[in-house]
C-alpha cells in the first residue's frame, strides 16, 4: 500500500543527493531569485546620522535633539565645536548643526535666534534630508514659542497668573498635536515593481517546475536502461504501484523546487502573508502533478536518454516562451492562440492572482480544471505505454 510513497521518498532523496540536479534545479532558481531581489527588493527606509554641536545646553536644545533621535532610522551624534570642525575637515561627516548659545532663552522670550548648518559642499543627500527634518522641527518649536509669547503679551496686563496662561497654551498645543487639523497620510499603492514581481514570479516558478520534466523523463529512461525498474518488478511491487511511485516522485521533486523558490520569495521579497503562501503552494501541487505526468509520458515514450532530453527541452521551451513567462501574450493574434496550448498560460494566470493576493483558490476553477485535465490525460497515455525494460512487460 505504501510502496509508491517509498518510491517517491527514495527518488526525492536521490534528487537531493545529486549535485548536478541540485545545482540545476535549486541553485539556479536561487541565483535567478537573487537577480529578482536586486530588481524588486531593497525598498528600505531612510537611515542617517544627525550631527550636533550644542553650545546652548538649554531645554529647547535638548528638545530638538531628542525629537530627532526619536525618529526611526535617524541616529544622533553630539560633538564639541573643535571635534565638529575636525570631523568636517576629515570628511568623517559632511554637515553639522550648531545650536548657538542662548538658543533656549531666545526662544522662550520670543526673540529671534538662529541655527547654523556647517557643511562641506552641499553636504550630500543624507545631510540634506536630515537638515530638512531639523528645519521642520525648529520651525515648529519657533511657532510654538511665538504662540506662548504672543499670548503672554496680550494677556500680560490682565490679572491672570502667568502659570495658568502657560498651562492653557500648553494644553491647546498638545491637543493640536493629538488631532492635527491637517492629517498627512501615505498610502502604499503597490507601485510598478510589485506588479512586475507578481507577474514574473509565477512565470519563473512554472518554468522551474517544467525543468523537472526533463530531469524526471531522463531519469526514467536511464533507470529503464540500467534495469532498476525491471528489478523492482521482480520484488512484490506491481506495475501500477511502480507507476504511481514514479508519478509521486515527480510531484515531490517539483514541490521541493516550489517550496524553495516560493519560500525565498515570500520571506525575502515579502510577496504576501501565510495564507497567500499556502494557497499558492496548493496550486503548485496541481501544476507539479501535471508536470510529473508529462514527464512520465515523455520518459515512457522516449527510446533514448537523448530523445527524452530533447523532447523535454522542446516541451519546456515551447511552454515557457509561448506561455507568457517573459511577456504578456495578449488576447488576440497568433501568440495568444499558441499560448492556449501551454500549461504555463493557465498556471501563470492563476498564480498571478494568488501571489498578488487579489484572488483566492476558489476562483481558480477553470485554470485548475485545464491543468488537472492535462495531468489526467498524460497519466492515462503514460500508463498505457509504460514499460520497465526493453521488450518487457
Amino acid at each position: 500500500m505504501f510502496r509508491p510513497l517509498h518510491i517517491a521518498l527514495l527518488e526525492t532523496k536521490r534528487f537531493l543527493l545529486d549535485r548536478g540536479d541540485l545545482a540545476f534545479s535549486l541553485a539556479l532558481p536561487v541565483v535567478l531569485f537573487a537577480l529578482m531581489y536586486g530588481t524588486f527588493g531593497g525598498g528600505e527606509s531612510f537611515n542617517g546620522t544627525a550631527h550636533f554641536v550644542d553650545l546652548d545646553g538649554g531645554p529647547a536644545a535638548k528638545l530638538l535633539v531628542e525629537s530627532l533621535s526619536d525618529i526611526d532610522g535617524i541616529d544622533v551624534e553630539m560633538h564639541s565645536l573643535e571635534d565638529a570642525d575636525q570631523g568636517l575637515d576629515r570628511s568623517s561627516f559632511l554637515s553639522v548643526a550648531v545650536i548657538p548659545e542662548g538658543f533656549s532663552e531666545a526662544l522662550d522670550d520670543g526673540e529671534q535666534t538662529s541655527l547654523t548648518f556647517r557643511q562641506r559642499g552641499s553636504g550630500g543627500n543624507e545631510s540634506q534630508i536630515i537638515n530638512g527634518i531639523i528645519r521642520a522641527i525648529t520651525q515648529e518649536m519657533a511657532g510654538e514659542a511665538q504662540v506662548y509669547s504672543v499670548v503672554r503679551e496680550v494677556i500680560g496686563e490682565s490679572s491672570l497668573p502667568a502659570s495658568q496662561v502657560n498651562q492653557a497654551v500648553f494644553t491647546s498645543l498638545a491637543e493640536a498635536h493629538q488631532s492635527p487639523s491637517v492629517v498627512v497620510r501615505s498610502i502604499d499603492v503597490g507601485g510598478a515593481s510589485a506588479e512586475v514581481l507578481h507577474r514574473l514570479l509565477p512565470g519563473i516558478l512554472v518554468m522551474f517546475l517544467l525543468f523537472a520534466v526533463s530531469l524526471g523523463s531522463q531519469a526514467l529512461v536511464e533507470e529503464r536502461r540500467i534495469g532498476t525498474l525491471e528489478r523492482l518488478l521482480t520484488t512484490r511491487l506491481s506495475l501500477n504501484q511502480l507507476f504511481a511511485g514514479r508519478f509521486l516522485a515527480g510531484v515531490s521533486r517539483a514541490m521541493v523546487q516550489a517550496v524553495v523558490l516560493l519560500g525565498l520569495a515570500f520571506v525575502v521579497l515579502q510577496v504576501g502573508g501565510a495564507s497567500v503562501f499556502v494557497q499558492t503552494l496548493i496550486f503548485c501541487v496541481l501544476v507539479a502533478a501535471a508536470v510529473s505526468a508529462v514527464s512520465l509520458l515523455i520518459g515512457t515514450l522516449a527510446r533514448s536518454r537523448d530523445q527524452a532530453t530533447w523532447s523535454a527541452v522542446f516541451f519546456t521551451m515551447f511552454m515557457t516562451v509561448f506561455g507568457g513567462t517573459f511577456f504578456e501574450v495578449g488576447n488576440t493574434g497568433a501568440l495568444a492562440f499558441l499560448s492556449k496550448f501551454t500549461i504555463n498560460k493557465y498556471a501563470i494566470d492563476a498564480l498571478e492572482g494568488l501571489v498578488s493576493g487579489a484572488e483566492g483558490l476558489s476562483t481558480q476553477g477553470p485554470e485548475a480544471a485545464i491543468i488537472a485535465g492535462v495531468a489526467v490525460a498524460s497519466l492515462l497515455f503514460a500508463r498505457l505505454a509504460f514499460r520497465t525494460g526493453v521488450g518487457g512487460r
Binding site: R3, H6, L10, K13, R14, L17, D18, I226, G227, T228, E230, R231, L232, L233, T234, T235, R236, L237, S238, T388, G389, G391, G392, R393
Partner: protein, 249 residues
C-alpha cells in the same frame, strides 16, 4: 527437500523477427546450482528475464514452485530473487539504503528490512562500508551489493546473471562462497556465465546454450565424459566439439 523448483517448458522469444531464445526447456532441482553456459548473445539474459517474470515469452511457460510465471506472476515473485547482469542499483545512495529500499519493496517491514540488510552486507563482506555511497565502491564491491539486494526477499530461487564479469579475485571468491553457503542453507540457484572454469567449479549441472538453443545438459563430469577422461577434458573443449567454435571468441 528434494523436488523440482523450476521447470521451463519450450520457452521462446524473438526480437524484431530474430529468434533470441528458441524452444528452451530444463528443470532446476531444489538446492541445486544450475549453470547456463554460453557465449555473449547466446540468449542467457533473455531466458532469465522470462523466468523472472519481467519479459513475456512468445511461447512456452515456466513453473516456479508450482506456479505459472505467466498466470501467477505474483506468487512466483514471492519465491525469486534476481541479480541482473547490469548493476541495477542506486549509486548515489549508500549500500544500506539500497538494501533497505529493495527489502521494503519485497514486502519487509522497516525494522525487518534494516536487520536483514545488515545481515546481507555481512554475508557479502561489506558490513564496514554499509553507509558509504555505492558510487564510490569498486566494481567488485558494486557487484556484491547487487547480489545482496537480490537476497533481501530470502528467495527460494536465486537468478544470477553473470555476477562475476570484470571483478577482482577477492570479490569473486566472496561471491562464490556466498552462493555455496546459501545453497547449503537450502537455496536453489540459476547461474549464467560465459566463463567455463567458473561453471565447472561451481555448478551441479550445466546447460550449454548457443544461438538461443540448449545444445547439451548434464553435470560437468557427464558433459566432459562425452569427449573422454573427464579429468583431462575441459568444458572449453566440449563447447568446441559441440559448436565447432571456441567459446572465447
Amino acid at each position: 527437500m528434494a523436488g523440482t523448483i523450476l521447470e521451463a517448458k519450450g520457452l521462446s522469444k524473438s526480437f524484431d523477427g530474430m529468434l533470441a531464445v528458441d524452444d528452451v526447456s530444463f528443470t532446476i532441482q531444489r538446492q541445486e546450482i544450475f549453470g547456463l553456459l554460453g557465449p555473449n548473445g547466446a540468449g542467457k539474459t533473455t531466458t532469465i528475464r522470462m523466468l523472472a517474470t519481467v519479459l513475456d515469452a512468445d511461447g512456452g511457460d515456466v513453473e516456479i514452485g508450482g506456479h505459472s510465471a505467466r498466470r501467477s506472476s505474483g506468487q512466483v515473485r514471492a519465491l525469486i530473487g534476481l541479480c541482473p547482469q547490469e548493476l541495477a542499483l542506486y549509486e548515489e545512495l549508500s549500500a544500506l539504503d539500497n538494501l533497505v529500499f529493495f527489502g521494503r519493496m519485497a514486502g519487509l517491514g522497516s525494522q525487518e528490512a534494516r536487520v536483514r540488510a545488515e545481515e546481507n552486507l555481512q554475508l557479502v563482506g561489506l558490513q564496514d562500508r554499509a553507509k558509504g555511497a555505492v558510487a564510490k565502491f569498486s566494481g567488485g564491491m558494486k557487484r556484491r551489493v547487487n547480489l545482496a539486494i537480490a537476497l533481501m526477499g530470502r528467495p527460494a530461487l536465486l537468478f544470477l546473471d553473470e555476477p562475476t564479469v570484470g571483478i577482482d579475485p577477492q570479490s569473486r571468491n566472496h561471491i562464490f562462497e556466498t552462493i555455496l553457503r546459501l545453497r547449503d542453507e537450502g537455496m536453489s540457484v540459476l547461474y549464467t556465465t560465459h566463463y567455463m572454469e567458473e561453471a565447472n567449479r561451481l555448478c551441479d549441472r550445466i546447460a550449454i546454450i548457443d544461438n538461443g538453443r540448449i545444445i547439451a545438459i548434464g553435470t560437468p563430469v557427464e558433459l566432459k565424459t562425452e569427449l573422454g577422461d573427464p579429468a583431462q577434458v575441459t568444458l572449453e573443449e566440449v563447447f568446441l566439439h559441440l559448436t565447432g567454435r571456441s567459446l572465447r571468441d
